[in-house]
């Protein structure tokens, strides 16, 4: 008995593990620094988007007369105006608004899970984690639809100078604008979607551990907090992607 208790007694000296730099636990601190490095990657991707946009011809005419052309950078409202079930109806940014709402909601349910963890309320942690997994999965489904539509294209497509038509998008040509526009769409929303996917996997793992009582036995739900930090970061990135890719 005495040997087990000495192992569990935390070290209190400054140089043998008792010191918490920045008054945060090791795990949370490392999550913050990982997120900082991840923010650099997303920052770089969005900056490349800005750089490409500034080095292409902007569309100068009236928004009503806008047509897709490889000559100029497209107006995002004219590209992202489709909604599932409303084929051919012009609903600018409606679907992306829905996706944004779903992700913000998932962030709220995540905070509620963390809050329940502070109170050691296992049932509430389970409930809010399940909601977060649900909203995260719905977001991924929406993104799959958005990609499918972007790749398939519209009925009208884009007419090239030689009279041939282009529908949808791939990495070399697309009906919306310069090739870089679709490339950056795939890279930026794809990299974000990858993060959401890993987030959902992490949430499912944490949910299983919660159900098995791992954190309750451990005496704290810090793992929920750490995954929560990651999840909020994914939401944060979407806020920036939304502004720089869809609004501006």
């Amino acid at each position: 008995m005495s040997t087990t208790t000495t192992l569990e007694t935390p070290n209190t000296g400054t140089w043998d593990g008792g010191n918490e730099p920045l008054k945060a636990s090791y795990g949370k601190l490392m999550m913050w620094f990982f997120l900082l490095s991840d923010a650099f990657t997303f920052g770089a991707l969005l900056i490349v988007y800005g750089l490409s946009r500034h080095s292409h011809l902007p569309y100068a005419g009236k928004p009503e007369d806008f047509v897709f052309s490889t000559e100029w950078w497209p107006i995002p409202e004219k590209v992202f105006n489709a909604f599932p079930g409303f084929h051919g109806v012009d609903l600018p940014l409606a679907f992306v608004a829905l996706m944004t709402m779903i992700l913000i909601l998932s962030s709220v349910t995540m905070v509620l899970a963390v809050e329940a963890g502070h109170r050691m309320d296992k049932k509430d942690v389970q409930k809010w984690l399940l909601w977060t997994i649900l909203f995260g999965s719905i977001f991924l489904g929406c993104q799959a639809w958005e990609w499918a539509h972007f790749i398939t294209g519209t009925d009208e497509g884009m007419t090239l100078a030689d009279g041939s038509k282009v529908f949808g998008a791939n990495l070399t040509i697309n009906q919306y604008g310069p090739a870089l526009f679709a490339d950056l769409f795939f890279f930026i929303t794809g990299f974000h979607g990858t993060h959401v996917t890993s987030g959902v996997v992490l949430l499912i793992m944490v949910f299983i551990n919660t159900v098995n009582g791992v954190y309750h036995k451990r005496g704290h739900y810090e793992m929920v907090e750490k995954v929560g930090l990651y999840w909020h970061f994914v939401d944060l990135v979407w806020v920036f992607v939304f502004t720089f890719f869809y609004l501006i």
């Binding site: 945060a24 750089l51 292409h56 940014l93 905070v111």
Partner: protein, 113 residues
């Protein structure tokens, strides 16, 4: 086995009541800011002024997510600054590369005139 299904009663011994007021308040602020963004997207003509409004609203949203949801506001000052200062350098990179992009565009359109 528990026969009483009332959640509060079941855990009344050691589980305090949830404190969720601040969380929902932050949520409504985020929803309102997003709604305002859409309002500007549909009522205002595209241009530098509208883009500036979008960026300012985005920074507000980012502040609420990081400060409240990620709890950074309540961490130590040193941690707050060690996150903010590197991000400020990213903003610098953004400004530098945007002007670089404009210069590149200018060069290729005007070089052969």
């Amino acid at each position: 086995m528990h026969t009483n299904h009332s959640h509060d009663f079941d855990n009344a011994v050691d589980i305090p009541k949830p404190q969720t007021k601040a969380i929902w308040k932050t949520f409504f602020i985020l929803v309102a800011l997003t709604a305002v963004e859409f309002l500007f997207a549909f009522t205002m003509d595209a241009g530098t002024a509208r883009n500036a409004i979008f960026i300012i609203l985005t920074i507000f949203k980012a502040f609420y997510i990081v400060a409240e949801f990620m709890h950074l506001k309540h961490e130590s000052k040193t941690l707050i600054w060690s996150i903010i200062i590197p991000m400020a350098l990213v903003v610098w990179l953004m400004v530098a590369l945007l002007s670089e992009g404009s210069y590149y565009f200018d060069s290729i359109t005007n070089y052969f005139k």
